[in-house]
Symmetry: C2
Subunit: 283 residues, 2 copies
Amino acid sequence: MSGATEAAPPPSAAGSPAVTVDAFLGGKVEAVQPAAGHHRSGLEAVLLAASLDSRISGTVVDLGAGAGVAGFCAAARCKRARVVLVEREPGLIACAREALARPANAAFADRVRLVTADIEAPQAERERAGAGRDLADHVLLNPPFYERAGGTRSPAKARASAHVLAAGGLDPWLRAAASVLKFGGDVTVIFRADGLADLLAAAARRFGGAEVMPVLPRPEQPAHRILVRAVKGSRAALKLLPPLVLHGEDGSAFTPGVEAMLREGRGLASVNRAWHGGRARPS
Amino acid sequence: MSGATEAAPPPSAAGSPAVTVDAFLGGKVEAVQPAAGHHRSGLEAVLLAASLDSRISGTVVDLGAGAGVAGFCAAARCKRARVVLVEREPGLIACAREALARPANAAFADRVRLVTADIEAPQAERERAGAGRDLADHVLLNPPFYERAGGTRSPAKARASAHVLAAGGLDPWLRAAASVLKFGGDVTVIFRADGLADLLAAAARRFGGAEVMPVLPRPEQPAHRILVRAVKGSRAALKLLPPLVLHGEDGSAFTPGVEAMLREGRGLASVNRAWHGGRARPS
Protein backbone atom coordinates (compact mmCIF):
# COMPACT_ATOMS: atom_id res chain seq x y z
CA MET A 1 0.00 0.00 0.00
CA SER A 2 2.24 2.81 1.18
CA GLY A 3 5.31 0.66 1.38
CA ALA A 4 6.84 -0.52 -1.88
CA THR A 5 8.68 -3.80 -1.66
CA GLU A 6 11.97 -2.66 -3.06
CA ALA A 7 14.19 -5.68 -2.74
CA ALA A 8 13.91 -9.41 -3.01
CA PRO A 9 14.07 -11.11 0.37
CA PRO A 10 17.59 -10.61 1.74
CA PRO A 11 19.32 -13.07 4.04
CA SER A 12 17.22 -12.76 7.17
CA ALA A 13 17.69 -13.21 10.89
CA ALA A 14 18.66 -16.78 11.73
CA GLY A 15 15.70 -19.08 11.87
CA SER A 16 13.13 -16.43 10.93
CA PRO A 17 10.68 -17.00 8.10
CA ALA A 18 10.93 -15.27 4.75
CA VAL A 19 10.89 -11.49 4.95
CA THR A 20 10.52 -8.56 2.59
CA VAL A 21 12.14 -5.15 2.71
CA ASP A 22 9.61 -2.39 2.30
CA ALA A 23 10.37 1.29 1.74
CA PHE A 24 8.42 4.14 3.38
CA LEU A 25 8.64 7.94 3.25
CA GLY A 26 10.17 7.80 -0.21
CA GLY A 27 12.98 5.52 0.91
CA LYS A 28 13.93 7.40 4.09
CA VAL A 29 12.76 4.31 6.02
CA GLU A 30 13.18 0.62 5.22
CA ALA A 31 11.32 -2.00 7.23
CA VAL A 32 11.98 -5.73 7.29
CA GLN A 33 8.64 -7.50 7.55
CA PRO A 34 7.65 -11.18 7.59
CA ALA A 35 6.37 -12.04 4.14
CA ALA A 36 3.38 -13.90 5.54
CA GLY A 37 1.65 -14.93 8.75
CA HIS A 38 1.83 -11.53 10.42
CA HIS A 39 0.14 -8.19 10.06
CA ARG A 40 2.09 -6.16 7.50
CA SER A 41 2.26 -2.47 8.23
CA GLY A 42 1.53 0.22 5.73
CA LEU A 43 -0.67 3.24 5.50
CA GLU A 44 -1.89 3.20 9.12
CA ALA A 45 1.63 3.09 10.56
CA VAL A 46 2.76 6.01 8.40
CA LEU A 47 -0.30 8.11 9.32
CA LEU A 48 0.34 7.39 12.98
CA ALA A 49 3.93 8.61 12.71
CA ALA A 50 2.76 11.63 10.70
CA SER A 51 0.55 12.63 13.64
CA LEU A 52 3.63 13.77 15.59
CA ASP A 53 4.98 17.28 15.54
CA SER A 54 8.38 16.90 13.86
CA ARG A 55 9.92 19.37 16.36
CA ILE A 56 9.40 17.21 19.47
CA SER A 57 12.49 16.29 21.44
CA GLY A 58 11.30 13.78 24.05
CA THR A 59 10.73 10.04 24.00
CA VAL A 60 8.22 8.40 21.69
CA VAL A 61 7.09 4.89 22.63
CA ASP A 62 5.49 2.72 19.96
CA LEU A 63 3.48 0.08 21.89
CA GLY A 64 2.87 -3.12 19.96
CA ALA A 65 5.37 -1.91 17.41
CA GLY A 66 5.36 -4.96 15.14
CA ALA A 67 8.29 -4.77 12.74
CA GLY A 68 8.69 -1.07 13.59
CA VAL A 69 7.24 0.86 10.66
CA ALA A 70 5.47 3.55 12.74
CA GLY A 71 8.38 3.94 15.15
CA PHE A 72 10.96 4.14 12.34
CA CYS A 73 8.88 6.74 10.49
CA ALA A 74 8.57 8.70 13.75
CA ALA A 75 12.34 8.60 14.24
CA ALA A 76 12.96 9.63 10.63
CA ARG A 77 10.52 12.57 10.89
CA CYS A 78 11.31 13.77 14.41
CA LYS A 79 15.06 14.24 14.33
CA ARG A 80 15.43 15.23 17.99
CA ALA A 81 13.24 12.44 19.43
CA ARG A 82 14.27 9.14 20.94
CA VAL A 83 12.03 6.22 19.96
CA VAL A 84 11.35 3.02 21.92
CA LEU A 85 9.66 0.11 20.15
CA VAL A 86 7.82 -2.28 22.46
CA GLU A 87 6.82 -5.60 20.90
CA ARG A 88 6.21 -9.03 22.45
CA GLU A 89 7.09 -11.18 19.43
CA PRO A 90 10.86 -11.95 19.32
CA GLY A 91 10.57 -12.63 15.57
CA LEU A 92 9.31 -9.11 14.94
CA ILE A 93 11.97 -7.60 17.20
CA ALA A 94 14.53 -9.53 15.11
CA CYS A 95 13.04 -7.97 11.98
CA ALA A 96 13.28 -4.50 13.54
CA ARG A 97 16.90 -5.14 14.55
CA GLU A 98 17.77 -6.28 11.04
CA ALA A 99 16.11 -3.17 9.61
CA LEU A 100 18.07 -0.85 11.91
CA ALA A 101 21.32 -2.27 10.50
CA ARG A 102 20.38 -1.29 6.94
CA PRO A 103 22.17 1.77 5.52
CA ALA A 104 18.86 3.41 4.56
CA ASN A 105 18.00 3.76 8.25
CA ALA A 106 21.39 5.03 9.43
CA ALA A 107 20.09 8.57 9.95
CA PHE A 108 17.92 7.51 12.88
CA ALA A 109 19.01 4.00 13.95
CA ASP A 110 21.02 5.26 16.93
CA ARG A 111 17.93 6.99 18.34
CA VAL A 112 15.81 3.79 18.30
CA ARG A 113 15.74 1.27 21.13
CA LEU A 114 14.05 -2.16 20.94
CA VAL A 115 12.23 -3.69 23.92
CA THR A 116 10.78 -7.20 23.93
CA ALA A 117 7.79 -7.00 26.28
CA ASP A 118 4.08 -7.73 26.31
CA ILE A 119 1.99 -4.59 26.81
CA GLU A 120 -0.28 -6.67 29.02
CA ALA A 121 2.55 -7.85 31.27
CA PRO A 122 2.55 -6.60 34.87
CA GLN A 123 4.09 -3.18 35.38
CA ALA A 124 7.16 -4.62 37.20
CA GLU A 125 7.90 -6.98 34.34
CA ARG A 126 7.61 -4.20 31.75
CA GLU A 127 9.80 -2.03 33.96
CA ARG A 128 12.56 -4.69 33.99
CA ALA A 129 12.28 -5.05 30.20
CA GLY A 130 12.80 -1.29 29.77
CA ALA A 131 9.25 -0.06 29.23
CA GLY A 132 8.35 1.22 32.66
CA ARG A 133 6.48 4.15 34.13
CA ASP A 134 6.96 7.78 33.05
CA LEU A 135 9.17 6.77 30.12
CA ALA A 136 7.23 8.47 27.35
CA ASP A 137 6.33 11.97 26.26
CA HIS A 138 4.34 10.51 23.37
CA VAL A 139 2.87 7.08 22.75
CA LEU A 140 1.90 5.66 19.36
CA LEU A 141 -0.69 2.89 19.38
CA ASN A 142 -1.73 0.78 16.40
CA PRO A 143 -3.65 -1.93 18.23
CA PRO A 144 -5.02 -5.06 16.58
CA PHE A 145 -8.10 -4.05 14.61
CA TYR A 146 -10.37 -7.02 15.20
CA GLU A 147 -11.92 -8.68 18.23
CA ARG A 148 -11.34 -12.35 18.70
CA ALA A 149 -14.54 -14.14 17.70
CA GLY A 150 -15.40 -16.74 20.31
CA GLY A 151 -12.77 -19.02 21.81
CA THR A 152 -11.97 -21.21 18.86
CA ARG A 153 -8.41 -20.03 18.21
CA SER A 154 -5.58 -21.55 20.14
CA PRO A 155 -3.78 -19.06 22.40
CA ALA A 156 -0.62 -19.52 20.34
CA LYS A 157 -2.42 -18.73 17.12
CA ALA A 158 -4.19 -15.77 18.64
CA ARG A 159 -0.91 -14.40 19.87
CA ALA A 160 0.63 -14.83 16.45
CA SER A 161 -1.88 -12.52 14.84
CA ALA A 162 -1.53 -8.81 15.28
CA HIS A 163 -4.94 -8.48 13.65
CA VAL A 164 -6.71 -9.87 16.69
CA LEU A 165 -7.57 -8.00 19.87
CA ALA A 166 -7.37 -10.11 23.01
CA ALA A 167 -10.17 -10.27 25.54
CA GLY A 168 -10.55 -6.89 27.21
CA GLY A 169 -10.43 -5.15 23.86
CA LEU A 170 -8.72 -1.79 23.83
CA ASP A 171 -8.60 -1.33 27.56
CA PRO A 172 -5.21 -3.04 28.16
CA TRP A 173 -3.70 -0.93 25.38
CA LEU A 174 -4.86 2.37 26.85
CA ARG A 175 -3.84 1.22 30.31
CA ALA A 176 -0.35 0.41 29.07
CA ALA A 177 -0.16 3.75 27.27
CA ALA A 178 -1.17 5.63 30.43
CA SER A 179 1.41 3.66 32.40
CA VAL A 180 4.42 4.50 30.23
CA LEU A 181 3.35 8.13 29.66
CA LYS A 182 4.40 11.08 31.77
CA PHE A 183 1.59 13.24 33.14
CA GLY A 184 0.57 15.57 30.33
CA GLY A 185 2.01 13.28 27.68
CA ASP A 186 -0.16 12.19 24.78
CA VAL A 187 -1.21 8.96 23.12
CA THR A 188 -2.19 8.78 19.47
CA VAL A 189 -4.17 5.76 18.31
CA ILE A 190 -5.22 4.60 14.87
CA PHE A 191 -8.18 2.25 14.88
CA ARG A 192 -11.25 1.04 13.00
CA ALA A 193 -13.82 3.84 12.70
CA ASP A 194 -16.60 1.56 13.89
CA GLY A 195 -14.67 1.10 17.15
CA LEU A 196 -15.00 4.81 17.98
CA ALA A 197 -17.31 4.30 20.97
CA ASP A 198 -15.10 1.56 22.42
CA LEU A 199 -11.97 3.64 21.97
CA LEU A 200 -13.50 6.73 23.59
CA ALA A 201 -14.74 4.63 26.50
CA ALA A 202 -11.32 3.04 27.03
CA ALA A 203 -9.57 6.41 26.81
CA ALA A 204 -12.04 8.22 29.06
CA ARG A 205 -10.74 6.52 32.18
CA ARG A 206 -7.22 7.91 31.86
CA PHE A 207 -7.12 10.59 29.19
CA GLY A 208 -8.82 13.84 28.23
CA GLY A 209 -8.68 16.49 25.55
CA ALA A 210 -9.30 13.90 22.85
CA GLU A 211 -8.97 14.97 19.23
CA VAL A 212 -10.86 12.62 16.90
CA MET A 213 -10.00 12.72 13.21
CA PRO A 214 -12.12 10.60 10.89
CA VAL A 215 -10.12 9.04 8.02
CA LEU A 216 -12.30 8.70 4.92
CA PRO A 217 -11.36 6.50 1.95
CA ARG A 218 -13.17 8.95 -0.35
CA PRO A 219 -14.90 12.31 0.23
CA GLU A 220 -18.45 10.96 0.39
CA GLN A 221 -17.76 7.62 2.08
CA PRO A 222 -17.96 6.87 5.82
CA ALA A 223 -14.69 6.77 7.71
CA HIS A 224 -12.93 3.40 7.81
CA ARG A 225 -10.27 4.58 10.26
CA ILE A 226 -10.00 7.09 13.08
CA LEU A 227 -6.95 8.85 14.43
CA VAL A 228 -7.45 9.82 18.07
CA ARG A 229 -5.02 11.83 20.17
CA ALA A 230 -5.60 12.24 23.90
CA VAL A 231 -3.64 13.69 26.81
CA LYS A 232 -2.91 11.86 30.05
CA GLY A 233 -4.62 13.60 32.95
CA SER A 234 -6.30 16.27 30.80
CA ARG A 235 -9.88 17.31 31.48
CA ALA A 236 -10.27 19.27 28.27
CA ALA A 237 -13.29 18.65 26.06
CA LEU A 238 -13.30 16.31 23.10
CA LYS A 239 -12.83 17.78 19.62
CA LEU A 240 -14.23 16.14 16.52
CA LEU A 241 -12.03 17.31 13.66
CA PRO A 242 -12.52 17.69 9.92
CA PRO A 243 -11.71 14.41 8.20
CA LEU A 244 -8.57 13.30 6.44
CA VAL A 245 -9.58 12.07 2.98
CA LEU A 246 -7.28 9.48 1.40
CA HIS A 247 -8.44 9.41 -2.20
CA GLY A 248 -10.50 11.57 -4.57
CA GLU A 249 -13.94 10.61 -5.86
CA ASP A 250 -12.40 8.16 -8.35
CA GLY A 251 -9.16 6.39 -9.04
CA SER A 252 -6.46 5.00 -6.82
CA ALA A 253 -4.29 8.10 -6.39
CA PHE A 254 -3.93 9.55 -2.91
CA THR A 255 -4.96 13.14 -2.24
CA PRO A 256 -1.94 15.48 -2.40
CA GLY A 257 -1.65 15.91 1.36
CA VAL A 258 -1.75 12.18 2.04
CA GLU A 259 0.72 11.56 -0.77
CA ALA A 260 3.07 14.07 0.87
CA MET A 261 2.75 12.27 4.21
CA LEU A 262 3.44 8.87 2.67
CA ARG A 263 6.27 9.84 0.30
CA GLU A 264 7.89 12.86 1.92
CA GLY A 265 7.23 12.46 5.62
CA ARG A 266 5.01 15.55 5.82
CA GLY A 267 3.20 16.05 9.15
CA LEU A 268 -0.53 15.56 9.53
CA ALA A 269 -0.92 19.03 11.08
CA SER A 270 0.37 20.62 7.89
CA VAL A 271 -2.20 18.68 5.86
CA ASN A 272 -5.20 19.04 8.18
CA ARG A 273 -4.86 22.26 10.11
CA ALA A 274 -7.24 21.30 12.90
CA TRP A 275 -5.00 18.45 14.06
CA HIS A 276 -3.12 19.07 17.27
CA GLY A 277 -5.10 22.04 18.42
CA GLY A 278 -4.88 23.86 15.13
CA ARG A 279 -1.39 25.15 15.77
CA ALA A 280 0.47 25.51 12.51
CA ARG A 281 3.29 23.00 12.26
CA PRO A 282 6.36 22.78 10.07
CA SER A 283 6.52 19.80 7.70
CA MET B 1 -30.26 32.31 12.23
CA SER B 2 -32.36 30.07 10.01
CA GLY B 3 -35.64 31.55 11.06
CA ALA B 4 -36.52 35.05 9.98
CA THR B 5 -38.79 36.93 12.32
CA GLU B 6 -41.44 37.88 9.83
CA ALA B 7 -44.10 39.51 11.89
CA ALA B 8 -44.40 41.78 14.86
CA PRO B 9 -45.60 39.98 17.96
CA PRO B 10 -49.23 39.01 17.38
CA PRO B 11 -51.79 38.78 20.16
CA SER B 12 -50.50 35.80 22.11
CA ALA B 13 -52.02 33.05 24.23
CA ALA B 14 -53.64 34.45 27.34
CA GLY B 15 -51.12 35.23 30.03
CA SER B 16 -48.08 34.21 28.02
CA PRO B 17 -45.10 36.51 27.64
CA ALA B 18 -44.25 38.32 24.41
CA VAL B 19 -43.69 36.06 21.44
CA THR B 20 -42.32 36.32 17.92
CA VAL B 21 -43.41 34.54 14.78
CA ASP B 22 -40.46 33.01 12.96
CA ALA B 23 -40.53 31.51 9.47
CA PHE B 24 -38.65 28.33 8.49
CA LEU B 25 -38.30 26.34 5.25
CA GLY B 26 -38.89 29.44 3.18
CA GLY B 27 -42.18 30.18 4.89
CA LYS B 28 -43.65 26.67 4.74
CA VAL B 29 -43.46 26.65 8.57
CA GLU B 30 -44.18 29.41 11.07
CA ALA B 31 -43.29 28.98 14.72
CA VAL B 32 -44.48 31.08 17.64
CA GLN B 33 -41.60 31.41 20.09
CA PRO B 34 -41.21 33.30 23.36
CA ALA B 35 -39.24 36.43 22.61
CA ALA B 36 -36.99 35.93 25.63
CA GLY B 37 -36.29 33.66 28.58
CA HIS B 38 -36.37 30.42 26.63
CA HIS B 39 -34.19 28.64 24.16
CA ARG B 40 -35.13 29.84 20.66
CA SER B 41 -34.95 27.18 17.98
CA GLY B 42 -33.22 27.65 14.69
CA LEU B 43 -30.62 25.85 12.66
CA GLU B 44 -30.38 22.75 14.86
CA ALA B 45 -34.12 22.12 14.79
CA VAL B 46 -34.24 22.42 11.00
CA LEU B 47 -31.24 20.09 10.54
CA LEU B 48 -32.87 17.57 12.84
CA ALA B 49 -36.08 17.59 10.78
CA ALA B 50 -34.01 17.40 7.57
CA SER B 51 -32.51 14.15 8.83
CA LEU B 52 -35.78 12.33 8.11
CA ASP B 53 -36.56 10.60 4.85
CA SER B 54 -39.46 12.64 3.43
CA ARG B 55 -41.19 9.42 2.29
CA ILE B 56 -41.80 8.02 5.79
CA SER B 57 -45.39 7.32 6.75
CA GLY B 58 -45.26 6.42 10.45
CA THR B 59 -45.24 8.47 13.64
CA VAL B 60 -42.49 10.95 14.44
CA VAL B 61 -42.16 11.98 18.09
CA ASP B 62 -40.26 15.16 18.93
CA LEU B 63 -39.19 14.78 22.57
CA GLY B 64 -38.56 18.05 24.36
CA ALA B 65 -40.13 19.79 21.42
CA GLY B 66 -40.00 23.35 22.76
CA ALA B 67 -42.17 25.60 20.61
CA GLY B 68 -42.24 22.90 17.93
CA VAL B 69 -39.84 24.03 15.20
CA ALA B 70 -38.30 20.60 14.55
CA GLY B 71 -41.62 18.80 14.70
CA PHE B 72 -43.35 21.33 12.44
CA CYS B 73 -40.53 21.13 9.89
CA ALA B 74 -40.76 17.32 10.03
CA ALA B 75 -44.52 17.47 9.39
CA ALA B 76 -44.03 19.94 6.53
CA ARG B 77 -41.36 17.78 4.88
CA CYS B 78 -42.84 14.32 5.52
CA LYS B 79 -46.34 14.63 4.11
CA ARG B 80 -47.47 11.14 5.09
CA ALA B 81 -46.13 11.21 8.67
CA ARG B 82 -47.97 11.96 11.89
CA VAL B 83 -46.01 14.07 14.35
CA VAL B 84 -46.31 14.16 18.14
CA LEU B 85 -44.67 17.01 20.06
CA VAL B 86 -43.84 16.20 23.67
CA GLU B 87 -42.96 19.19 25.85
CA ARG B 88 -43.26 19.73 29.60
CA GLU B 89 -43.65 23.53 29.59
CA PRO B 90 -47.32 24.55 29.19
CA GLY B 91 -46.22 27.96 27.90
CA LEU B 92 -44.34 26.34 25.02
CA ILE B 93 -47.23 24.00 24.26
CA ALA B 94 -49.42 27.12 24.11
CA CYS B 95 -47.00 28.64 21.60
CA ALA B 96 -47.13 25.47 19.50
CA ARG B 97 -50.95 25.47 19.61
CA GLU B 98 -51.04 29.09 18.53
CA ALA B 99 -48.67 28.30 15.67
CA LEU B 100 -50.79 25.39 14.44
CA ALA B 101 -53.75 27.77 14.03
CA ARG B 102 -51.81 30.00 11.65
CA PRO B 103 -52.72 29.71 7.96
CA ALA B 104 -49.08 29.15 6.97
CA ASN B 105 -49.12 25.82 8.80
CA ALA B 106 -52.49 24.59 7.50
CA ALA B 107 -50.87 22.03 5.20
CA PHE B 108 -49.69 19.93 8.14
CA ALA B 109 -51.50 21.15 11.27
CA ASP B 110 -54.00 18.28 11.26
CA ARG B 111 -51.13 15.75 11.37
CA VAL B 112 -49.55 17.27 14.51
CA ARG B 113 -50.57 16.37 18.04
CA LEU B 114 -49.39 18.19 21.19
CA VAL B 115 -48.63 16.37 24.44
CA THR B 116 -47.75 18.12 27.68
CA ALA B 117 -45.47 15.69 29.49
CA ASP B 118 -42.03 15.58 31.08
CA ILE B 119 -39.72 13.13 29.31
CA GLU B 120 -38.39 12.17 32.74
CA ALA B 121 -41.84 11.36 34.13
CA PRO B 122 -42.57 7.72 34.95
CA GLN B 123 -43.69 5.59 32.03
CA ALA B 124 -47.29 5.31 33.35
CA GLU B 125 -47.61 9.08 33.62
CA ARG B 126 -46.29 9.61 30.09
CA GLU B 127 -48.63 6.90 28.88
CA ARG B 128 -51.63 8.72 30.36
CA ALA B 129 -50.48 11.98 28.77
CA GLY B 130 -50.33 10.32 25.35
CA ALA B 131 -46.61 9.60 24.96
CA GLY B 132 -46.46 5.94 25.90
CA ARG B 133 -44.60 2.87 24.75
CA ASP B 134 -44.29 1.82 21.10
CA LEU B 135 -45.79 5.07 19.86
CA ALA B 136 -43.00 6.14 17.54
CA ASP B 137 -41.34 4.96 14.37
CA HIS B 138 -38.92 7.88 14.59
CA VAL B 139 -37.84 10.10 17.46
CA LEU B 140 -36.25 13.52 17.12
CA LEU B 141 -34.17 14.70 20.06
CA ASN B 142 -32.72 18.17 20.54
CA PRO B 143 -31.72 17.93 24.21
CA PRO B 144 -30.43 20.85 26.25
CA PHE B 145 -26.84 21.46 25.22
CA TYR B 146 -25.23 22.30 28.52
CA GLU B 147 -24.74 20.55 31.83
CA ARG B 148 -25.94 22.30 34.92
CA ALA B 149 -22.86 23.77 36.62
CA GLY B 150 -23.00 23.04 40.33
CA GLY B 151 -26.18 23.46 42.36
CA THR B 152 -26.47 27.21 42.34
CA ARG B 153 -29.56 27.51 40.17
CA SER B 154 -32.96 27.11 41.69
CA PRO B 155 -34.84 24.06 40.36
CA ALA B 156 -37.50 26.36 38.92
CA LYS B 157 -34.94 28.38 37.03
CA ALA B 158 -33.17 25.30 35.79
CA ARG B 159 -36.45 23.91 34.50
CA ALA B 160 -37.14 27.13 32.70
CA SER B 161 -34.02 26.85 30.61
CA ALA B 162 -33.95 24.46 27.71
CA HIS B 163 -30.21 25.14 27.51
CA VAL B 164 -29.51 23.18 30.66
CA LEU B 165 -29.25 19.40 30.98
CA ALA B 166 -30.55 18.04 34.28
CA ALA B 167 -28.52 15.71 36.45
CA GLY B 168 -28.11 12.40 34.65
CA GLY B 169 -27.12 14.18 31.47
CA LEU B 170 -28.29 12.56 28.26
CA ASP B 171 -29.29 9.26 29.78
CA PRO B 172 -32.93 10.19 30.61
CA TRP B 173 -33.36 11.51 27.07
CA LEU B 174 -32.16 8.31 25.42
CA ARG B 175 -34.18 6.25 27.87
CA ALA B 176 -37.34 8.19 27.01
CA ALA B 177 -36.57 7.83 23.29
CA ALA B 178 -36.16 4.06 23.64
CA SER B 179 -39.39 3.88 25.59
CA VAL B 180 -41.60 5.60 23.01
CA LEU B 181 -39.92 3.90 20.02
CA LYS B 182 -41.04 0.68 18.42
CA PHE B 183 -38.39 -2.02 18.09
CA GLY B 184 -36.37 -1.15 15.01
CA GLY B 185 -37.38 2.49 15.14
CA ASP B 186 -34.73 5.18 15.10
CA VAL B 187 -33.78 8.19 17.15
CA THR B 188 -31.92 11.14 15.69
CA VAL B 189 -30.16 13.50 18.07
CA ILE B 190 -28.44 16.83 17.54
CA PHE B 191 -25.94 17.72 20.23
CA ARG B 192 -22.69 19.49 21.05
CA ALA B 193 -19.77 17.83 19.26
CA ASP B 194 -17.72 17.75 22.45
CA GLY B 195 -20.45 15.60 24.02
CA LEU B 196 -19.83 12.82 21.49
CA ALA B 197 -18.47 10.33 24.03
CA ASP B 198 -21.34 10.97 26.46
CA LEU B 199 -23.93 10.62 23.71
CA LEU B 200 -22.44 7.37 22.40
CA ALA B 201 -22.29 5.98 25.93
CA ALA B 202 -25.93 6.90 26.64
CA ALA B 203 -27.08 5.46 23.31
CA ALA B 204 -25.04 2.25 23.62
CA ARG B 205 -27.31 0.85 26.28
CA ARG B 206 -30.41 0.80 24.08
CA PHE B 207 -29.43 1.50 20.48
CA GLY B 208 -27.10 0.25 17.78
CA GLY B 209 -26.16 0.98 14.19
CA ALA B 210 -25.25 4.55 15.07
CA GLU B 211 -24.51 6.98 12.25
CA VAL B 212 -22.43 9.92 13.46
CA MET B 213 -22.30 13.01 11.27
CA PRO B 214 -19.97 15.81 12.36
CA VAL B 215 -21.37 19.29 11.66
CA LEU B 216 -18.54 21.72 10.92
CA PRO B 217 -19.00 25.50 10.95
CA ARG B 218 -16.34 25.76 8.24
CA PRO B 219 -14.35 23.19 6.22
CA GLU B 220 -11.19 23.32 8.32
CA GLN B 221 -12.73 23.88 11.74
CA PRO B 222 -13.60 21.22 14.33
CA ALA B 223 -17.23 20.17 14.54
CA HIS B 224 -19.42 22.22 16.90
CA ARG B 225 -22.43 19.92 16.49
CA ILE B 226 -23.06 16.25 15.82
CA LEU B 227 -26.07 14.58 14.28
CA VAL B 228 -26.38 11.00 15.48
CA ARG B 229 -28.96 8.50 14.28
CA ALA B 230 -29.29 5.12 16.02
CA VAL B 231 -31.71 2.21 15.82
CA LYS B 232 -33.50 0.65 18.80
CA GLY B 233 -32.35 -2.92 19.30
CA SER B 234 -29.82 -2.85 16.45
CA ARG B 235 -26.42 -4.48 16.86
CA ALA B 236 -24.95 -3.00 13.71
CA ALA B 237 -21.59 -1.25 13.87
CA LEU B 238 -21.16 2.47 14.27
CA LYS B 239 -20.53 4.55 11.14
CA LEU B 240 -18.62 7.81 11.27
CA LEU B 241 -19.83 9.81 8.28
CA PRO B 242 -18.34 12.59 6.18
CA PRO B 243 -19.14 15.95 7.75
CA LEU B 244 -21.85 18.43 6.95
CA VAL B 245 -20.17 21.81 6.46
CA LEU B 246 -22.34 24.85 7.18
CA HIS B 247 -20.31 27.69 5.69
CA GLY B 248 -17.43 28.15 3.25
CA GLU B 249 -13.95 29.28 4.27
CA ASP B 250 -15.14 32.86 4.60
CA GLY B 251 -18.32 34.85 4.84
CA SER B 252 -21.66 34.17 6.42
CA ALA B 253 -23.42 32.41 3.54
CA PHE B 254 -24.46 28.80 4.05
CA THR B 255 -23.13 26.11 1.72
CA PRO B 256 -25.64 25.36 -1.07
CA GLY B 257 -26.80 22.06 0.43
CA VAL B 258 -27.42 23.59 3.84
CA GLU B 259 -29.17 26.57 2.28
CA ALA B 260 -31.46 24.12 0.45
CA MET B 261 -32.27 22.35 3.71
CA LEU B 262 -33.02 25.61 5.52
CA ARG B 263 -34.99 27.40 2.80
CA GLU B 264 -36.52 24.61 0.73
CA GLY B 265 -36.88 21.70 3.13
CA ARG B 266 -34.37 19.52 1.27
CA GLY B 267 -33.42 16.28 3.03
CA LEU B 268 -30.01 15.73 4.60
CA ALA B 269 -29.54 12.47 2.66
CA SER B 270 -29.75 14.38 -0.61
CA VAL B 271 -27.04 16.77 0.59
CA ASN B 272 -24.72 14.25 2.28
CA ARG B 273 -25.08 10.94 0.52
CA ALA B 274 -23.64 8.86 3.36
CA TRP B 275 -26.48 9.80 5.72
CA HIS B 276 -29.02 7.07 6.38
CA GLY B 277 -26.97 4.19 5.03
CA GLY B 278 -26.07 5.91 1.82
CA ARG B 279 -29.40 5.14 0.19
CA ALA B 280 -30.30 7.87 -2.25
CA ARG B 281 -33.27 9.85 -1.04
CA PRO B 282 -35.61 12.27 -2.72
CA SER B 283 -35.43 15.78 -1.30
